[in-house]
Amino acid sequence: MIRTEGLTKVFTVGFRGRKVRALEGLTLEVKRGEIFGFLGPNGAGKTTTIKILTGLLYPTEGRAWIMGREIGDVSVKERMGFLPENPSFYEYLTGLEFLNFYGQLLKIPYDERLHRIGELFSLVGLEGAEELQLRRYSKGMIQRIGIAQALLNNPEVVILDEPMSGLDPLGRKEIRDLILRLRDEGKTVFFSTHILSDVEMICDRVAILVKGRLKAVGPLDELLGGYVKSIEVTVRDPGGVFEEVKDLAERVIRREDLLLISLKDEETVERVIEVVRERKGRIHSIVPQRLSLEEYFVKMQEEG
């Protein structure tokens, strides 16, 4: 649905024309109907990528396609929706005037437009704010009307830049539910965030961007599965196991005759299993402890 090939963006800053490489050879593919999380710390190049995809920036190198068409093609935008980061709209318009104006830009026929606008006001929970000027909207309300404008044309691809920033916990949950609902309707959702809990809950796949470079991409389980922090083995100790394993393990917790042993790698797991067998103990469970997304993120940044 969205494909990029070697996207690179170099900004020239200041009077001396210093070059800043905001994005470096990004190659990525987002499949139809998935929720794709675009992760990275501030300044990683997420917004730059999104602005290239929406035609606000021209890439220095590389190409990108949305729904099979190259991004310069305006017709792509007929079936695409976009919410920028910290959006801001014409504050002198009322909510209704605003959506009506954008509906005209999308050439939605009058009757259909009014119907759709009504639907969207209730979908994003802004009923009753139709006649209010946008300058009177709170930040959360602006975010909601921003989502409404992105969905006006019932798009196949929705691109959201930090859709949950500035929202309270309830607002975040509503946006999460909305994104899931969009996926259920068969839409492709591409959104950026630096808030990991958003991604852990709803994304099918994620890409991690650090300092303009793509560090990893794939389903969250796989990404995190690749990094096993430790292996926890629970055994029943008839006596003697504790003394033998305590030097092998990173940590051993004893509760009556149960031992919870944290081990570093698979080799030590083998040795612990041997000891348990010799002592006629019993193994209850072996559980690899994965990194949380947060820990993964930090690790990536350290490596980067």
């Binding site: 976009f82 920028p84 014409y90």
Partner: protein, 265 residues
């Protein structure tokens, strides 16, 4: 259709802007005042009213064109409203066409309001205007078109303050190009001579849109434009109109080229 939606929204933006009303109120006040001022003179009353009135229409209209025009694109970028606009299926040049025509429509409406005020004052003084009066207004409007395109051009890459200074300078110099050429020809420095000639040909000569004196004369003397200018009347209007459109097209094209290439960081 899409340009129309943008134009309508620009019109709405302008008429919800306080600057517009301040300027309009001042213009109407001055036009109204011209009626009172004229009573101070003996005879020539209508000449004074028309002089002050038409000058007020021109100056305040140009000020509207500048002060609304310089924010036309800049504000959209500064307030980031352009992000979502350009994510809709609209080409960048269409956006500019919409913004430009929206402001022109606003200026036209204001021109009509100010004109109504002036015609009212003239009637109150027991005079009436003739068709040549409207030729004059048409050329004043052409000047608005040209100034708006300049303000739009600067608005595409510069801050409002600088844009205002640039556009205002163009307005002033545009009315003085004849003088520049004259001083150049009097100079003995060959460089100055060349420079003034080049400037004269590059800069739009805004005096081409100024037929106020001629028109006022015909009205006062109860003549028609065709009578005074012996058949060249309509030709003059046509020439000035084409002249204005030619400059506007070039300036607008420049604005499009700059705007098309721009990155919105």
């Amino acid at each position: 259709m899409r340009e129309l939606a943008i134009a309508f929204n620009t019109f709405r933006e302008c008429i919800r802007d306080r600057i517009l009303y301040n300027l309009l109120i001042f213009a109407i006040l001055i036009i109204g005042l011209s009626g009172i001022l004229s009573t101070l003179s003996i005879g020539e009353q209508v000449r004074i009213i028309l002089n002050i009135g038409l000058a007020a229409i021109e100056i305040f209209g140009v000020m509207m064109a500048i002060f609304l025009g310089i924010g036309l694109v800049y504000k959209e970028i500064d307030r980031r409203t352009i992000y979502t606009i350009l994510s809709k299926p609209i080409k960048r040049y269409q956006f500019l066409v919409g913004k430009f025509s929206g402001l022109l429509f606003t200026l036209l409406v204001n021109l009509i309001i100010m004109t109504a005020g002036l015609v009212g004052v003239v009637y109150l003084m027991g005079w009436h205007v003739n068709s040549t009066f409207f030729y004059c207004l048409w050329l004043i409007f052409m000047e608005f078109v040209l100034i708006t395109s300049l303000a739009l051009l600067f608005s595409c890459f510069s801050t409002p303050t600088l844009s205002a200074i640039f556009t205002l300078s163009f307005f002033v110099i545009g009315h003085l190009t004849e003088d520049i050429k004259f001083f150049g020809s009097r100079s003995e420095n060959p460089f100055l001579q060349k420079a003034s000639t080049i400037l004269y040909y590059i800069l739009p000569n805004l005096e081409n849109f100024n037929i106020k004196a001629l028109v006022i004369d015909t009205i006062v003397r109860g003549l028609y434009f065709e009578d005074v200018s012996a058949g060249v009347g309509l030709k003059l209007i046509l020439f000035s109109t084409l002249y204005g459109l030619f400059y506007t097209a070039i300036i607008f094209l420049l604005a499009v080229i700059i705007f098309e290439k721009r990155d919105f960081k």
